[in-house]
Symmetry: C4
Subunit: 267 residues, 4 copies
C-alpha cells in the first residue's frame, strides 16, 4: 500500500473544474471575530455556490479539529465557485476554510499559492473580508476599506466605507498579503473590515461587511434572513459566554471554535 | 573515523523486523498529564511487547534528558510490536517515546513519517491516546473520543466514551494529526482522551483510557494491578509536589519529567 | 496570464541602474524610535536622491500596511542613490524601507543580500544608523558609535560620538549584522546610535545622529529645517499619545506606525 | 569585487591545523551564569592554548556585540588546541565562543557540526561544562554530572560529583546534545554542571566545575589564582548590580553581557 497524500507545502485536491468566466475572488478565512469567514460562508450558502477544491498544507497549525459529533476534521482551505445568473453580475470564486498558515513564511507561501490559483482562473479583482478589533461590543459596526489603487476608493466611499485614517494601519495575514501580491499583477484588490469586539464570532459585523459588498456586486443575497440570524447570534453571546466558561471547566485544552450550531445561526 | 549518524530530519534505527499481520497502531507520546504515554507504556510492559525500532529527529527539542542514575538519554520515539496470542485479537504496533516535535512543520513531518511507517506494515486502524486537561483534580476521569469515520462512533458510545460535545474542539499534536492523515488513506482512526488535571502525570486517567481500549481490542491486560499503581501514584501526588518544590530549589533549570520510579509505579 | 512575481527569498525590482563611483552605503531601516529610518528619509529628501530599486522578500512580516488614504503598501526595502556634487564628497547609496526580516535566519539572509548589493556597486564603507532605547524622554540625545576597525574611532570621538562603554553591548538586526559581514570583506563599517526613549518615533534623535554623519561626509544638509521639524515633532508627542489612545480605542488591531503626516514633519 | 564569505549554515575559518593526537574535547559555550564559558576561557588562558579555527553560522542570533572599546564582534564559536606536556596528560581541543544557535533546528545542526569536527580530529571523549541554575546565591556550589556510559560514573563520584537525582532532568543546548550524539559514535561523554544563581556570570561555579575536571585530566591549572579572581568577582556582584541598573537606565536595549573587564577577573 502506498501513501496517497504526503503532507507537503500545499496539496490541492480538486473535486471538479469550475466553469467560470473572468471571475472575481472573495476571500474570508479565520481571523478576528471570524468576520470574513462567516460572511463568505453566508454567501456560499445563500448563493448555493459549489465547492470545487480543498487545499491542505504543512504550513497550517499542527492539529485537527473535532466537530460536535466527534468526527475529526483536518485544517484546510476550501474553494467554491458561483456562476452569475444574469449579465449584470460576475462569476465568483470563494475562498474560505478553518485556518491560515502558522508561520510568517507559511503565510507568504499560502498567499502566493492563493494568488496563483486566482490568476489561473483569470481573476482581475479580489475582495478580502475581515474584522477590525476594537476591544468593546459594537452595536452598529462601521466598515473600513483598504485598496490597491486610487480609482477603487470613490465607489466605496459612496457606500459609506471609511477609507481615510489618522495613522498608518496594518492588515495582518492573507487578507492583506494577497492584495499586496495582486497589486503587482495589476489585479485590483479591496479589503473590507467590519468593526468587531474581537471577543466572539460576530455575524453582525459580517452583515455590516456584506452590505457594501453585495451592492458593489449587484448581488441579491437574503440580508433580512442574515439580520435575524445576527440578532439570534447576539442573544447567543451571553449563552456563548456560559458555554465557554463551561468548556474551560470541562474540556480544558479543547479550545473555543465556533460550533456548527453557531455557524447554522449565520448561514 | 566516520560520523555514524548525522542527525537529519528522521533517523530510524531498526533493532529487528517485526513479524506482524495487519497490525493496528496504538500511539501514546508525551502530552498533557502524560496520559497517552503512560497508557502505552503500561500496555507494552503488561503484554511483553518487543521494541523493534528507535527514531531520532532534528525536529525534536534541542536537549537530552538525564535519568535518575545520571545517564543521559536522547530525545526519541520508539516502536514496539506484539503478536496476537489468539485469533480474536489483532497484532499491535505501539508508538511511544519521550518527545514530540518542537515546531509546527516538525509536527507535520513527524506525523507523516509515523503514518508512512504504519502504512508500510499494513496498518488499517490507528488508536491515539491522550489527556484532556480540565484544570482541576479529577477522581473519576471521563473518556472523550474523536474518530475519522461515523461508523466508529456506536461501539465507542456503547463503552461510555463521550463522542458529542457542545463546541468544536482541537487535538493538538501527533495524536490528532495522524488521524487526519489516516482519514485520507482510508485508515480508520480513533482518539481516546482521558480527563486529567494537567498538573501531574496521571496514571488514573491512563487507566480510564485503557478501559474502553482493552474492551475494543479484546485484550486481557492486568487492570487490577494498574488500579493499585494508580492509587499509589495518587498518594504520590502530594509527595511529587514536595519533590517538585525541592527540585525547583535544588536544580533550577533541570525541569520536571516523570522519574523512572514514578514510571515504575505504573508499569 | 502568468504570475509576474512569485514572492521568494528576495525580489529586487530595479527602476534604473545607478551611476555611482565607489559609493558609500548609508542604512536606516525601522528600529527603535525609527531613528535610523527617519534620518535616512531626511537625507534622501534633502539631497534629492533617486530611488533605483525596491526589494520584496518572504522574510518580511506577513502583512501589508494601509496608508492614511486607504491605499495598501507592501512590506519592502528601498535603495536610493546620490551623485556627489563636488570632489570633496562621495557618491552615496541609501537603504531604507518599512521593515526588517521577521525571523533570525531571515535577518541573516537579508543582511547578506544587502551586503552583496553593496559589494556589487563597489561600496568600501558602510554607515548604519539607529536608535538606542533608554526608556525615558531625552532632551539632548547622546550619540554612541560602534565600528569594524580601530582606525575609525578617532574621527568619531573628535565629533563627540561616544565609543567606550562599561559593558559589552549588542546591535540587533541589519544595522549590526551588515557591519559584521562588512568586516570580513575588508569594508569599513560605522554604526551611529542616537539615544531615544523608544516610545515614539524620534526625529530629534535622528537629528543628533545626522550631526556627526554629515560632518564626516562633508554634506551640506539643511539641518536648521530639520531642527524646526524636530521641534514640531516634539510638540506632536502629546498629540501622538492622544492619537494612539484613540487608535487603540477605534481600530484595535491596526497598530501604531508613523503616519505620513508625521513623516512629513521630518522630511 | 566578490563576496568573500556568504553567511551560510556554517563557515569554519581555520587559522592553522592543530597537531593533536587522540585529543579530548572540552566544551564551554554561553549558558546559565556563563559557568562553562568562563571555565573554558580560564583553561585556554592558563594552559596557553592556541586558537586554530573560528566558526560563523546563520543559526546564530541576528546581531553583533559591541566590545567596551566600541569595536563590533560577530557572533562566533572558537576552537583552541593544547598539546600535552607529559605522557600522563592528553591533548585537548577546546570549544568556546559568544553564542549558541537561536533555533531548535539550529541547535541540532550546530551540535552535529561540532561533533563532526571532533570526530575528524579523533576525539574519543568529550567534556561539556555548564551551570545549573538554582535561583539563589550559592556560596559553595555543588557539581552535578551526567554521562553517556555507566563506566564513567565511579571516577566522578570519587571526586564528589553528584550523579544520582530524584527526577529526570534535562540538559538544554549544545552541552547536552553533543553528548547524545557522542553516545551513538561510541564516544564517551561527561557533562559537569556547577550550581549557580543564574543571575550573574559566576566564576565561583566555574571554579567548582574545574576542580574535578582538572583532577580527572591530571592538569596543573593555577586554581589559587582562579580562587582569588573568583573572590574578586564575588565582590563585583554588588557593583555589577549597580552597573546593570545603570546600563538599563543609560542604554536600554543594549543588553547585559559580561564585560571584558569582568572576563579579565577570571582569565
Amino acid at each position: 500500500m502506498e501513501i496517497r497524500r504526503v503532507m507537503t507545502k500545499f496539496v490541492l485536491e480538486k473535486l471538479q473544474e469550475p466553469t467560470v468566466n473572468n471571475p472575481i475572488l472573495i476571500e474570508g478565512l479565520p481571523g478576528i471575530g471570524h468576520v470574513g469567514r462567516l460572511a463568505v460562508k453566508h454567501l456560499t450558502i445563500e448563493l448555493k455556490a459549489t465547492k470545487f477544491a480543498t487545499m491542505y498544507s504543512n504550513t497550517f497549525p499542527p492539529q485537527v479539529l473535532i466537530k460536535e459529533n466527534g468526527i475529526i476534521q483536518e485544517m484546510k482551505n476550501e474553494f467554491y465557485f458561483w456562476k452569475a445568473d444574469d449579465p449584470s453580475k460576475k462569476d465568483i470564486i470563494f475562498l474560505t476554510g478553518n485556518t491560515q498558515a502558522s508561520t510568517p513564511e507559511g503565510q507568504y507561501a499560502l498567499s502566493n499559492k492563493i494568488l496563483e490559483i486566482a490568476v489561473n482562473y483569470g481573476v482581475k479583482i479580489i475582495y478580502t473580508l475581515g474584522g477590525l478589533g476594537v476591544g468593546r461590543l459594537v452595536e452598529t459596526p462601521k466598515v473600513f476599506g483598504a485598496v490597491t489603487h486610487d480609482k477603487l476608493i470613490p465607489p466605496l466611499e459612496k457606500l459609506n466605507v471609511i477609507m481615510k485614517r489618522e495613522g498608518v494601519g496594518q492588515i495582518i495575514g492573507v487578507s492583506g498579503m494577497i492584495l499586496g501580491l495582486a497589486k503587482v499583477q495589476d489585479i485590483d484588490g479591496i479589503c473590507l473590515m467590519g468593526e468587531t469586539s474581537g471577543y466572539y464570532l460576530d455575524p453582525n459585523s459580517s452583515k455590516a461587511v456584506l452590505s457594501p459588498l453585495t451592492k458593489l456586486l449587484n448581488l441579491k443575497v437574503d440580508m433580512n434572513k442574515l439580520s435575524e440570524k445576527a440578532k439570534a447570534a447576539k442573544l447567543r453571546v451571553a449563552e456563548a459566554q456560559k458555554i465557554e466558561r463551561k468548556m474551560m471547566e470541562n474540556l480544558g485544552v479543547v479550545q473555543k471554535e465556533p460550533s456548527e450550531e453557531q455557524m447554522r445561526y449565520i448561514g
